[in-house]
């Protein structure tokens, strides 16, 4: 089913003409995922930005079968598709549940955890834009410390929930993280995941220019900085073992990442970093140590 892990796939299975904002990281990621997975794929998508901008009746953007039910049940719906294929002796087929960070880390976490625990042959992709963007930038469990959202106007006081590691702790065979600046790496991870039987989890950092307060043409740059500052570690876990880590030989201070985004404006007083920036640097330093970046 998977030909070459390292080939960049451009099939336009997620067609242009959808209604995402300019520079939307999620739209980029969804296209990369669909093209990497190929035609023989069923997308089970949670309610959220992706669903709204890609599936208005009568003109959806999907050239692969698309199934949407609710905000919090994409993983369970995908599990249902998978058992139906098994029961009907159909397939093989790639089944990809997809949701944003809100539906993954908060409201849909239980359904995803159940799907992992039961061992369904489903890839779950989380497009992480670190808040509820579809409803107007409210804080989610995946919102990083210090982030200003419409429901944390003074900056988020809590730490970002680490969904990839929580997923890995279910004992599923494959967990990976990726960002939209590296087409090849992201698609290789989709293809690797789909070549493995059982539940898989791929966590993609997907900047939201509107919610993050950055220009639409620097989405890719923001992702690079998230990696270079070690704020977003990129890795792969296979059968519980860390098998690859995106190394960061020259580490940049977190300020370089934070300063480009309006959502972190409150972390600087007249251009001077507050103590919160030091706290975020500590989080990045923790990542360096934990993931050996």
């Amino acid at each position: 089913m998977i030909d070459n892990l390292d080939t960049v796939e451009k099939k336009d299975l997620f067609a242009s003409g959808h209604r995402a904002c300019g520079g939307c990281g999620q739209a980029l990621a969804a296209r990369m995922v669909a093209d990497a997975a190929g035609e023989n794929t069923i997308a089970c998508v949670a309610t959220g930005c992706l669903e709204v901008f890609s599936s208005p009746y009568p003109d959806p953007s999907w050239r692969i079968p698309f199934l949407h039910s609710l905000f919090e049940n994409a993983a369970a719906v995908a599990a249902g598709v998978e058992v139906a294929y098994k029961a009907l002796n159909k397939g093989p087929v790639n089944i990809i549940a997809q949701g944003g960070d809100g539906s993954t880390s908060d409201i849909g976490f239980q359904c995803m955890s159940g799907m992992f625990e039961r061992g369904h042959n489903v890839l779950y992709v989380c497009y992480d834009n670190e808040a509820y963007m579809n409803t107007g930038v409210q804080r989610s469990g995946s919102t990083p410390f210090g982030t200003r959202t419409t429901t944390t106007p003074g900056g988020n006081k809590r730490l970002k929930k680490n969904i990839p590691l929580l997923a890995a702790d279910h004992g599923i065979p494959y967990v990976a993280t990726a960002t939209v600046d590296d087409y090849r790496d992201l698609q290789r991870k989709v293809k690797t995941a789909l070549s493995i039987e059982g539940p898989k989890y791929l966590h993609i950092l997907a900047p939201c220019p509107l919610g993050w307060g950055h220009a639409g043409d620097i989405t890719v740059q923001i992702c690079r900085l998230a990696k270079q500052t070690c704020i977003f570690p990129v890795f792969e876990i296979r059968e519980g073992k860390m098998i690859s880590v995106h190394k960061v030989p020259v580490k940049k201070p977190v300020e370089e990442y934070l300063k480009l985004q309006g959502r972190f404006r409150n972390l600087f007083k007249k251009g001077t970093p507050t103590a919160d920036v030091a706290a975020i640097q500590k989080i990045a330093d923790g990542n360096i140590e934990r993931f050996n970046l």
Binding site: S69, A79, A84, R118
Partner: protein, 391 residues
């Protein structure tokens, strides 16, 4: 074959004969025996199906939604809090026109927590777009599942078979379980009309903006209304094939001569029929109209059946708090406004949270409406434990 069998076992046996491909369920009393029995049937290889042990009723409904959208014949069962937790998916299944069959082992809902029988759970989703069929006894509960798949798949509408928790699910009665060939002859394999399949890429569950949403709901409503014909036809086909009456829109008992008509649904109609026989022996003419299809609500047929009756009493195991009897409200709505006939339609709420409904209670109800119309009364209410300050 006639078997002395628990209601849940009868339903499990019959569901298995319907050959569902995917079963997903979460344990909740008094539904559990049904899915336990099905799990055993699947594990023994008597039914080739995927049995999914999910982490909640919400997931159970979501799994059968996904499986149905992928072309599988599916089954789930729940009750009470489980039905409430499923609520969001229940609406979604109906809107997506997926022919899922669900058993509701009717039970009260919290608070206060109560595991006993009434109809508040299925009532909570009466407007969701499901066909809701109520069984009188275990034979009908079993039979309705066979009919449910046929109706659901012909119309692309989900069907909920409601059977009284404990009173039916846990009762041992003789039930005629058909053989596989009989069911296969009656129920053809599922041929889905719209599925997710890479060979024919299509979107299911797209969102509809204000230009399209209302039409979607209108079409759904019309499909429910039109399903009355199918429910009737499938019921009569069933009696031809299996040699007994089951299902349909409603049934009547000694209605023609009756001066007073009781309208009700579910297992209580057994007691009501006993009472009617006793009244008959005493020279009092009481009849029964028992609803099988609560949704769609067969308003016109009910009007036809009851248009000459002037004293009607509705007794039901649910209430719309702040409003009154739900079934009573639907029955009252079945008659045109400004009728010339002085018609009395009384409303009694009974059996909430498993409160026993005795023949004496029902006798009191009939004798009371014989004297005067009753707007709303709780039958068998223990006034002595209600204090003035509680009201």
């Amino acid at each position: 074959m006639l078997k002395q069998i628990e209601g849940s076992q009868a339903v499990a046996d019959v569901v298995a004969l319907c050959r569902p491909n995917v079963i997903a369920a979460y344990p909740i009393t008094p539904q559990t025996h049904i899915v336990e029995d099905l799990a055993e049937i699947v594990s023994e290889g008597r039914l080739k199906a995927e049995f999914v042990n999910v982490e909640s009723e919400f997931a159970a409904a979501s799994v059968v939604l996904g499986a149905s959208a992928a072309g599988a014949r599916t089954y789930t069962a729940t009750t009470s809090q489980g039905m409430l937790l499923m609520n969001e998916v229940i609406y979604c299944i109906a809107g997506m026109r997926l022919p899922i069959v669900l058993t509701c082992a009717n039970r009260a809902i919290a608070a206060p927590l109560n595991i006993w029988n009434d109809h508040q759970d299925s009532m909570s989703v009466r407007d969701a777009g499901w066909i809701q069929l109520h069984a009188e006894d275990n034979q009908e509960a079993a039979d309705l599942h066979i009919q449910a798949y046929k109706i659901a798949e012909q119309l692309s509408l989900p069907v909920m078979v409601c059977m009284d928790g404990f009173i039916l699910t846990h009762a041992y009665e003789p039930v005629d379980i058909p053989d596989q060939k009989q069911v296969d002859d009656f129920l053809p394999p599922f041929k889905p009309t719209h599925i997710v399949d890479p060979r024919w890429p299509r979107g299911i569950g797209l969102y509809a903006d204000p230009r399209f949403y209302m039409e979607a709901k209108y079409i759904q409503h019309r499909a429910l209304e039109k399903s009355e014909e199918t429910i009737k036809r499938v019921s009569s086909d069933f009696s031809l094939a299996f040699g007994r009456e089951s299902g349909g829109l409603f049934k009547t008992y000694k209605l023609k001569e009756a001066d007073i008509v009781i309208v009700s649904m579910g297992s209580i109609v057994g007691s009501i029929k006993d009472l009617i026989d006793r009244f008959e022996a005493e020279g009092k003419k009481v009849g029964l109209l028992q609803i099988c299809s609560f949704r769609p609500f067969p308003r016109e047929q009910i009007y036809e059946a009851l248009k000459d009756k002037t004293n009607i009493v509705v007794v039901e195991k649910a209430i719309s708090l702040g409003r009154g009897g739900i079934l009573a409200s639907d029955v009252r709505w079945s008659f045109p406004k400004g009728e010339k006939i002085p018609r009395r339609i009384s409303s009694f709420i009974a059996g909430l949270g498993g409160r026993n409904i005795s023949l004496d209670d029902l006798r009191y109800m009939v004798e009371k409406v014989e004297r005067e119309p009753v707007e709303l009364e709780f039958l068998g209410l223990r006034q002595e434990i209600i204090q003035e300050k509680d009201l």
